[in-house]
Every structure is written in C-alpha cells, then in structure tokens.
C-alpha cells in the first residue's frame, strides 16, 4: 500500500505532496514543509556519518508502521515514497514516479522548474500509477483522501467529459456528421 508521495527539490523545498491512503497522520502544509527540510538535511548528514567510505544519503527509513524510501536523481531532486513495510517493487515505483515527473512536469511549458508542481496531467498520471499498485492489495477500499494538492484532481474527476467547445463556436462536435472515411 502506497501511503504518500513527496517530492523535494534540490534546495530542500517541498514541491509536491500527496496522500493516497490513511496510513499516516495528517499534517498542516507548514509541517510538511518542515518535514521536507528536515529530511533534506538529514539526508546530507547521513552520508557524512557513514562508518564505511563513500556512502549515499539515507535511502530507506524503517519504522514499525511504514517505510520511507528515498530516491535522489542525479540532478538533486528527491522522491520520497511512503509505503507500508510489505510494499513490493519499490524500485520500480520510484522509477515510475521519476518517469512521470520528467514527462509531465519537465516537459510542461507552464511548469517552472524547482517550483511547486501544478500540472494536472502529473496528478492524473501519478494517481493512475498509485491506483494500479494499491489495487493489487485486494479489498482495501480506503478512500483516496484529498491532500493539499488534490484540488485539481478532485475537480478533474468530478467533471464529466461533456463535449463543449469555446463559446465562440457553435456546438458542432455533437452535431458533426461523419464523412465515412
């Protein structure tokens, strides 16, 4: 079960956070920011206090109820995946998140790099991916709760896909007549 996904930019700022199930306590958005900053700092220190040379920063944090997996890209962005301790194929999920991130935020002309992520398609595809993994856990119908970024998503889902054109245009979509090609 995937609980949450956080994305931390290279300066330690939280640019994305979303909860997908109720495994964790709810925090205020300010607390999430602090949390991201803390993790960022700890990540840097943990590579310094290694008893063996050349260690990376913290990769996995284990607790009795959940695990935080951290994947840092070569560019310094950190993807944090909070999941239950039994969650399989963690590496694959993290890679997938990175893939979705580089598709729908990096290539989006309206998304400023290093800034909080506001890309509808990113939300949609991430949710789809999480659902596909969480769906494997049978009969766990925990509702997807609405995180701080979820406003976009909620409105998107509730919106029925009614064909509607711009006001300047007559309603041609539904009245169009096929030409039989």
């Amino acid at each position: 079960m995937i609980f949450s996904i956080y994305i931390i930019n290279k300066a330690g700022g939280l640019v994305y956070n979303k909860d997908y199930s109720e495994g964790l306590s709810k925090l205020t958005s300010n607390e999430y920011l602090v949390l991201a900053g803390t993790f960022h700092g700890v990540h840097a220190i943990t590579s310094k206090i290694s008893p063996a040379p050349g260690s990376s920063g913290i990769e996995m944090l284990e607790t009795d109820t959940f695990r935080i997996h951290c994947f840092q890209t070569l560019t310094g962005t950190k993807f944090l995946l909070v999941a239950d301790p039994q969650q399989p194929s963690i590496d694959m999920i993290l890679k997938k998140i990175y893939e979705i991130y580089s598709d729908y935020t990096v290539k989006n002309p309206f998304q400023n790099p290093e800034m909080p992520i506001r890309s509808e398609q990113f939300d949609v595809h991430l949710l789809k991916m999480v659902k596909s993994f969480n769906g494997l856990v049978a009969n766990n119908s925990i509702p997807y709760n609405v995180g701080s970024n979820a406003g976009v998503n909620a409105s998107l889902q509730s919106q029925p896909h009614v064909p509607s054109l711009q006001p300047s245009l007559p309603n041609i979509a539904s009245s169009g007549q096929g030409l039989g090609f």
Binding site: P51, S56, E62
Partner: protein, 184 residues
Amino acid sequence: MIYNMYIFDRHCQCIYYHDWHRGHTAKTAFDTHGDPLASHPSGGGGGGSTTTTTTMTDPRQGMNMSLEEEGKLVYGVVYSLRNLVKKLGKSQDGFIAYRTSHYKLHYYETLTGLKFVINSDPNVESLQQALRQIYTQIYVELVVKNPLACATITNGQVNPETMGAEGFRNGVDRFVRSLTMFDT
C-alpha cells in the same frame, strides 16, 4: 558486518562509543580533551586487531571530523528522524532503522530516554532486539547495578571513567562479537 555503536543519554551526551570494523575509515578518536570513553582500546576477547586504538597523531588529519563531532551529528540525525517518524506515524517510538547505500543504522530507545545506536552493513536484518539485549542484559546488569559505575551526569559533567567500566565494555564487545552478522 557490525561497524560501530553509540549510546546517548537523555542529555544528548554520547556516553559510550565502540567500533569494530572501521579499519580503513578509522576516524580520529577523541583528542586529548575529548571524551576519553572511546579511547579505551577494547580489552575484549577475540582479536584485538579489529578495534581501533586511539592515536594522538592522526594520519588522516583534516579529512574527517572528530569523534565528538560525529557523535553530535549522529545524535542529531536520530533525534530528527525520531521526531519525524513520531509526527508522521500514529504510534510512538516507531523509528527502527535507516539504510543508505553503505550502512544501516539501527536505533533503540529505552523508556528512560537512553538511545542505543548501532551501525552495520546495509544487508543486516533489524538489530533492535540485539540493542535491547545490550540494554537489559549488559547495561542494566553491569552499569545500573554497579554501585561504582555512575551512569548519570553529575553537575553537568559526564564521568565516563565510571561508565566506561571495563566490565561493560568487555560485555558489549563479547556480545557483539557473538552476533552471527558480526563478521560477515
């Protein structure tokens, strides 16, 4: 493979340090004014070769921080992570361990606020139980019950001599060496 171990008291002081496999990366131990705890070469059984002995002239000067500094950083990390976990999780004291590419840090906190930290290689299973045993079977037996070993702080000063009683150090050394993952 077990690398090293720290014990912190309630007052953020590193009251015990012991290392086993740190050969290549041996950092400078305490300087003369530092906590002399760590400067006790392990008198334990087994090969004394793996334990680092303190040298006043550090061959790797400037490359590493002192052990005292390192102790503070380790404390800072476990303290931050413990709070982070407390905040995020619904249970108390959920923090068990964290792993990087090269080591795994195991954590155990007693109800009295004593923090046991041990570093191993990343593939080791949880050592929390082992830390618990060190607490109940060695610390309690050899420090708490030892009237000569004053484990607490008097006047804000650690008196490590007493805490570092050979008995405790030997006990920990023997115990850790007996763990199956000690050398592998």
